[in-house]
Amino acid sequence: MSRSRPLSPNIQIYRPQLTSVLSIANRITGVVLGLGGFGLVAWLVAAALGPQPYAAVQSAFISWPGQVLLVGFTFAFFLHLCGGIRHLVWDSGRGFELGSIYASGWAVVAASVVLTAATWVASAVLGG
């Protein structure tokens, strides 16, 4: 009998925990930000080409779907930034006790929400 052995389920049954959820969130936001980088260059190229292409890109940003995307993008940015700093602290060898892992994890989530809100409040106040 040469049937190969079945593989036990992994992601199908493994419990999502703060550890794995924040890690995959850091990766997803990283990929999103990478796409955002292309968007940044599109904006710069539009500006380099002249006032009309620039105005076209700007109007896309100002439209309400554009604004929704930008809010999401800002949250992704702060989540990846705070998560990235958490990673840099780990790379120095610190913060590996479970209590610290969980505390820093929740701090990253809270900070990202607060910073996103602060950014958008500031831009509303300054921009009108």
Partner: protein
Amino acid sequence: MIIRSSSQVPRATLLKRFPVPKNFGLSEGSRIQRGRTWPAPAGARRTKTLQIYRYDPDADKTPRLDTFEVDLDDCGPMVLDALIWIKDKVDSTLTFRRSCREGVCGSCAMNMDGTNWLACTRSISDLGTPATIYPLANMRIIKDLVPDLTHVFAQYEMIEPWLKSHTPTPERERRQSVAERQQLDGYYECILCFCCTSGCPSHWWNGDRFLGPAALLQAWRWLADSRDEATEERLDKLEDPFRLYRCHTILNCTRTCPKGLNPGKAIAEEKKAILARRS
């Protein structure tokens, strides 16, 4: 919300599993079907429902999930006690590894309610209803809850878990100060249950080449040992984009270790050592 020890059982969570289909990515021979239901014996007052992964290589084409109702007044408090009760009173074909029943041998490692732990040190009362019992995640299954640990043990063998020295054997012991011996604390206690490696998503996707937290923790145990003289070769063998650097500090390993050890920290120390020797 703040977990301070890996023995803390996860309580209410938003998600019991990641939002993927039940048999997502599993090949045909690995997909789980619904299995038999075994009701509680007559007269049982306190019962617990356990859904247990079953696979019989002689009879089954695919694995299945059997449902057992355990009489809690007739068996001990730990999940291993429930499994032994089932094997004794209900279905003698239920197969699982076990030995010490006190959390020191590592035989009964399995996935209970979504997290890897030892069945002999997990209380039945800590499980949900119905409780789900699967073998260690992402392992080839020999039968029921018995995984094939050949590959993960081969990865352990590869890191050469023994003292390597070039200086001649001393007449008496190889001396080590108290502080030097303390460098091994938190690493020598590993019982090689492979809960950590089995819970690592990076090992799920790249387990053929990524060593995984268990082997890497033991690799650090030997790197940190002041009596060992093969540090250079050990680090050379580890410094590889897949063997070591598939670790992205996900930290499921530290969360799930039933002995409270910290593979994530050991791996960070290895990365620091590799950086230190070239800077």
